[in-house]
């Protein structure tokens, strides 16, 4: 047979077409969503499961809490989906970089936990000092730059996780009971206390402590007046000069190290950090306090520029997120998910009883990655969902006087 130029070309083009076709189909299928949030919210397990269930690739972009907000404002095209805290919204929404999410496209929008939608748990209102999620949940229009106090069809953020924060303590190194935020500034713990050096959150912890000491009653701890800020910072400086603080921390790992090494026996702490100390075999308790908790909530937002297939994929991913598997995954790390009922379906009854009902664990409690968290018989610090979320006193916030507060905070650090 003679290979003419013609047959050769035919073969080559057929070959070319077949190799070209595959990536083309592939590109149609997999959408990649760039998911911006803090590292704590980025579970590799969730990305893997989402890719299996939906065929959507999740590409995590991990930055710090403050950087998430900064990125939304300064680089709104650098992500497709953001998981940010509700307290950042009063800064993010006026920038116009986030769009109101269409409530009709969220399957379970009406099943979102009442503490987020209305600020109630079991029908009872919780504290709303600070930026409570229900105050900033709705926009007045799809491209609105103002919040709506009434529910609308335009949602700012769909909750991913939320929780109630309190003080972490080392019960093995502390004599007696700790039951009030006042303990943070108690001279008994001089040079063994720590506070976090993220001004907007640190000042709330300080305010909880100072109010518990009976020194002042704030109008709104999450939105202080200049006089209240001055008073709070003056108290903090006084405590610092008296040697109350061993250190300040600004990220998760620092707080774990301070606690695990015994440098600090009482400090403001985040729930997974307490777990991290415990998995090292060191006693650490997330101590419920009589004044209640400082709560926070984080949720999905969409950048204004998102459209087409990426937007569809983002909604699809969010609906999947609310459908239970992810909620159960997060619950087993100690967070609370947006929709409780669906998460329950994906948890064993004994797990649900331990994490949500305050019951003693019938079996060993494992983390999603298979590490032992608690042995059978243990109960969760703070008890049930109602006990913990129902006792929320205030929410993480950005104050109207934020600029002034940051300046005063710098003064405290320099003192």
């Amino acid at each position: 047979m003679t290979t003419t130029r013609r047959t050769f070309l035919k073969g080559a083009s057929a070959l070319g077409a077949s190799t070209l076709a595959a990536p083309y189909v592939h590109a149609q299928e997999a959408v990649t969503l760039r998911y911006l949030s803090t590292a704590v919210n980025q579970s590799p397990g969730i990305a893997k499961k989402a890719s299996e269930d939906l065929g959507i690739n999740i590409e995590y972009i991990a930055v710090t809490t403050d950087d998430v907000a900064r990125r939304v404002i300064t680089q709104p095209n650098s992500f497709d989906l953001v998981d940010t805290e509700y307290f950042a919204l009063p800064n993010l929404v006026p920038s116009g970089n986030l769009k109101g999410m269409d409530a009709t496209r969220i399957d379970r929008a009406d099943q979102i936990a009442s503490v987020i939608r209305e600020g109630t748990v079991g029908g009872k209102a919780v504290g709303s000092d600070g930026t409570a999620p229900f105050e900033v949940l709705y926009l007045d229009a799809a491209d609105g730059k103002a919040f709506s106090s009434e529910p609308t069809e335009f949602i700012t953020l769909i909750p991913t996780t939320y929780n109630a924060d309190t003080l972490g303590i080392r019960p093995d190194l502390i004599d007696g009971e700790v039951n009030s935020w006042a303990a943070l500034l108690d001279p008994k713990f001089a040079s063994k206390a720590a506070i976090l050096n993220i001004p907007s959150i640190g000042i709330m912890d300080a305010a909880m402590a100072i109010e518990a000491m009976g020194e002042i009653t704030y109008g709104d701890k999450g939105n202080m007046t200049r006089e209240e800020i001055d008073f709070t910072i003056a108290k903090l400086i006084e405590a610092k000069r008296a040697g109350q603080f061993r250190a300040f921390w600004s990220n998760f790992n620092e707080s774990v190290n301070l606690m695990a090494s015994g440098e600090v026996v009482i400090q403001s702490m985040w729930s997974p950090a307490v777990t991290a100390v415990r998995t090292q075999g060191i006693a650490c308790k997330y101590q419920p306090l009589k004044e209640g908790y400082r709560a926070w909530a984080s949720g999905f937002g969409l950048p204004r520029t998102l459209d087409g297939r990426k937007e569809d994929a983002a909604y699809e991913f969010i609906n999947w997120f609310l459908s239970g598997w992810a909620g159960a995954h997060l619950s087993k790390q100690g967070y609370y998910p947006a929709v409780l009922d669906t998460a329950k379906e994906y948890m064993e009854p004994y797990e649900w009883a331990y994490w949500y009902e305050g019951a003693a664990a019938e079996q060993d409690i494992m983390s999603p990655s298979g590490d032992l968290l608690e042995e059978a018989g243990a109960t969760r610090d703070g008890g049930s969902y109602e006990d913990r979320m129902g006792a929320v006193a205030c929410w993480n916030a950005v104050m109207d006087e934020n600029q002034y507060m940051v300046r005063k905070w710098n003064e405290f650090i320099a003192a």
Binding site: S95, F248, W249, N410, I413, A415
Partner: protein, 314 residues
């Protein structure tokens, strides 16, 4: 001797110029052309950002935006309470004083250690291979990152750290020493540990260029070891000392990582203040602070440069 070589070289260049067909004017033009890439890099990555920083420092800002304007409020905020608050120091002054204190202490300690190490390497280690080996050993800590070298101190100095356990075990103290960590001491210790090499290298370099004959001559003329050191070695090593000092001073002035980690974030530094402001999107305020820091560093450097003409010495 160097002078004769110098003039010799200059003469041969002068002779070469007409041969290449270059006239003086053309040479200058071409020189500028040759320097152009350097200038472009310099302008793009140094002058432009600097100009932007300066401009932004006069802008207005809210919690979510910055607006072009020409206001002095950022600078006024920076110096808020600095005059009417006297005799109490305002935050900015206090922060700068604290940074200057670290600068001075770290400079003094690194100078003594750096000079001694360089002196040992240059004059006591005789063979060149040995000198090179010793010098490389000095650089070993640089194989790991700054943060790791810093954090390595924490388990050593902590309340339940090795040092405290050893001291209590030996019965020197019965209470753990708290000031070992998260204190001025630990900050200075870490800074000295991190930056001494920046002192060693230039001083060693200067010392290696000292003609051994000069030291012999000093000894022959009856100078004591101390006199040789103060009258011969130190003056001749001065450029190295100055360059090392510039490195250390500029690095410590802008440092916030070491002061943050080793000071338990309880000690203020200018860098940390700028970082906090940037995190809260107060870019104009951060820019104003950066401009102030730049002025402070330039003042320190120009004071150092008064003492020596670097171009001449190099």
């Amino acid at each position: 001797m160097t002078d004769t070589i110098d003039t010799g070289a200059r003469r041969s260049i002068r002779r070469a110029i007409p041969r290449l067909g270059l006239r003086r004017g053309q040479g200058a033009g071409e020189g500028l052309l040759l320097a152009l890439p350097m200038w472009l890099v310099f302008a793009l990555f140094f002058l432009l950002p600097l100009a932007v920083t300066l401009v932004v420092s006069f802008w207005e800002f809210t919690q979510y935006s910055i607006e072009p304007a020409f206001i002095l409020r950022n600078y006024a905020d920076l110096f808020d309470g600095c005059i009417d608050g006297l005799p109490y120091l305002c935050t900015t002054l206090k922060t700068y004083l604290s940074t200057l204190k670290f600068c001075f202490l770290v400079w003094a300690v690194t100078l003594v250690i750096g000079f001694s190490v360089a002196y040992f390497l240059a004059f006591h280690v005789r063979s060149l291979p040995m000198q090179v080996t010793c010098f490389l050993i000095c650089t070993i800590p640089f194989w790991t990152s700054i943060v790791i070298r810093m954090i390595a101190w924490i388990p050593l100095l902590g309340r339940n750290g090795l040092v405290n356990q050893a001291l209590m075990g030996m019965g020197v103290t019965d209470q753990p020493l708290e000031w070992l960590l998260y204190s001025d001491f630990s900050v200075i210790l870490a800074l000295v540990h991190l930056y001494t090499l920046f002192m060693v290298v230039p001083i060693f370099n200067s010392m290696m260029r000292i003609d051994p004959a000069l030291i012999e001559a000093a000894r022959d003329s009856g100078a004591s070891g101390r006199q040789t050191l103060t009258n011969v070695v130190i003056p001749l090593a001065r450029p190295g000392i100055l360059i090392g000092s510039i490195f250390v001073v500029t690095i410590v002035m802008g440092d916030f990582l070491t002061i943050g980690i080793m000071g338990g974030q309880q000690i203020a530094s200018v860098g940390k203040t700028i970082q906090t402001e940037i995190q809260y999107l107060q870019f104009p305020l951060a820019a104003a602070n950066a401009v102030l820091l730049l002025i402070a560093v330039m003042l320190a450097i120009s004071a150092l440069l008064r003492m020596v003409d670097i171009r001449k010495e190099l």
